[in-house]
Symmetry: C2
Subunit: 237 residues, 2 copies
DNA sequence: CTTTCCAGAAAGTGATCACATTTTTGCCAA
DNA sequence: TTGGCAAAAATGTGATCACTTTCTGGAAAG
């Protein structure tokens, strides 16, 4: 294996004991790094994640990693096996159906709740993200698609100022993203469709029912159709 | 303050270093203990929870407590202030509305998903819990009511074998239970109504739409009416 | 060539320490 | 009595160690 030092922070490695330093705890950095990896599918379902291994990978001590893995386990994002080992859970048909159900129940609702707070400027920002998505899709860049699709949805959702629904949806995305990455890697991204433009139009019109329908359809298009099919063929995943 | 040693495990206190001992990790025990306290309202909203303090209270070392607090923070159950201190969050009107919305979206759905797995024996068990609830309500025993109401709902939900929706709902209950305890303590439990009997009837009939309606109404009755009113009068809570 | 078993490595868990920061307390002066 | 200020206590965070359990790989036996 090639030399890889400190996937976290490219700066000079000074870390005196217990130096909370620059107002960003090491745990928060590790947490962000792991979440990003999950959301962009850089953690494959079934992959086992070890404290010391990830700590070495990120160039930090085991303690912050240990706490982050606890957090993600509690969020139902990582799975703790009976022997204590932690891994990215494999997707099952039952699990997939539940995630889809939960998304369809929660996300259209939160989008509608966010609607009053979404300005024309927000709609412009969403359009910019969506244009970027179109480019990535045609290029087959699955990882960037995942990242931007997440950015699109959460730019909407965050506008709601939600304190309860948003964390729930956050957990859901962390749960399905690793699996969807494998799906997109298998079937490609070229024929992926979404309802982002319909959603943006609904936002500009301030049309709640249209926005609800768009988000619902978007989830079905991006996740429902493909994933269900994949799971029928390959058992665990 | 009176002497209080080890609220956890009344047995002889032997704990050699790193003895995973009797197949129940200390962390799991602490986790269960804290969750029970939250669900029965023994943690008051606004109460600050410290690692060392809780560890001393439970008679364990700080490490397991530290991990449990991380888990509950990640689940949006405990709040981490900007200074790192952890506390049971105060309920706000916005937060309350969101919890109620999320409950109404998720719980009726999961109940219906559980319906096919609910046998006549399960209905009998639910009836037994509900009878117990009636006794506690007339006695004004708010803490037992919280515990049994939780038991009633989750006896249903668990039958679904859910891996995704159930953890989400779990998080919601941990979020609103401390607040509801203060509500019941203020208005009493005598005039509390629920739809448990309607739910049990729907289960015995295998009637999905009736069950969905019963759960929805039960949530409105037990939480919606009272809580909204209380929040109008006292600001934080 | 396959199976069994044992030694070494790897991994999670709990304990303890050190340190920076924040909070609390108690005292002194106005 | 009250206001502020400094000392002390409390708290979260990171690091490190010890120990148990589990996993892995290879050697020996069939």
């Amino acid at each position: 294996m090639a030399m890889r030092r400190s996937a976290l922070s490219s700066g000079p490695e000074k870390r005196s004991p217990a130096t909370a330093s620059k107002r960003a705890s090491t745990r928060a950095q590790v947490d962000q790094a792991v979440r990003t990896r999950l959301l962009t599918g850089r953690f494959i379902p079934g992959k086992s994640v070890t404290i010391r291994g990830l700590a070495a990978d990120l160039g930090v001590s085991p303690m912050p990693v240990r706490e982050v893995l606890q957090r993600l386990s509690a969020e139902n994002v990582l799975e703790v096996k009976s022997n204590g080992r932690v891994q990215v859970p494999s997707m099952t048909p039952a699990r997939f159906d539940e995630v889809l159900t939960a998304r369809l129940l929660l996300e259209p609702e939160l989008a509608v709740l966010a609607l009053p707070s979404l300005s024309a400027a927000d709609a412009d920002a969403l359009t910019e993200i969506d244009d970027d998505i179109d480019v990535r899709l045609s290029n087959g860049d699955a990882e960037s698609y995942l990242r931007l699709n997440h950015a699109f949805h959460f730019a909407m959702y965050r506008a709601s100022g939600s304190e309860v629904l948003l964390p729930l949806i956050d957990s859901l995305w962390l749960q399905f993203s690793p699996f969807m990455r494998t799906v997109y890697g298998r079937v490609g991204t070229a024929n992926l469709v979404d309802q982002h433009k319909a959603a943006i139009a609904a936002i500009r019109d301030g049309n709640a029912s249209a926005l609800r329908a768009a988000i619902r359809a978007d989830i079905q298009d991006g996740m429902g159709l493909l994933g269900r099919e994949i799971l029928s063929s390959k058992p665990p995943a």
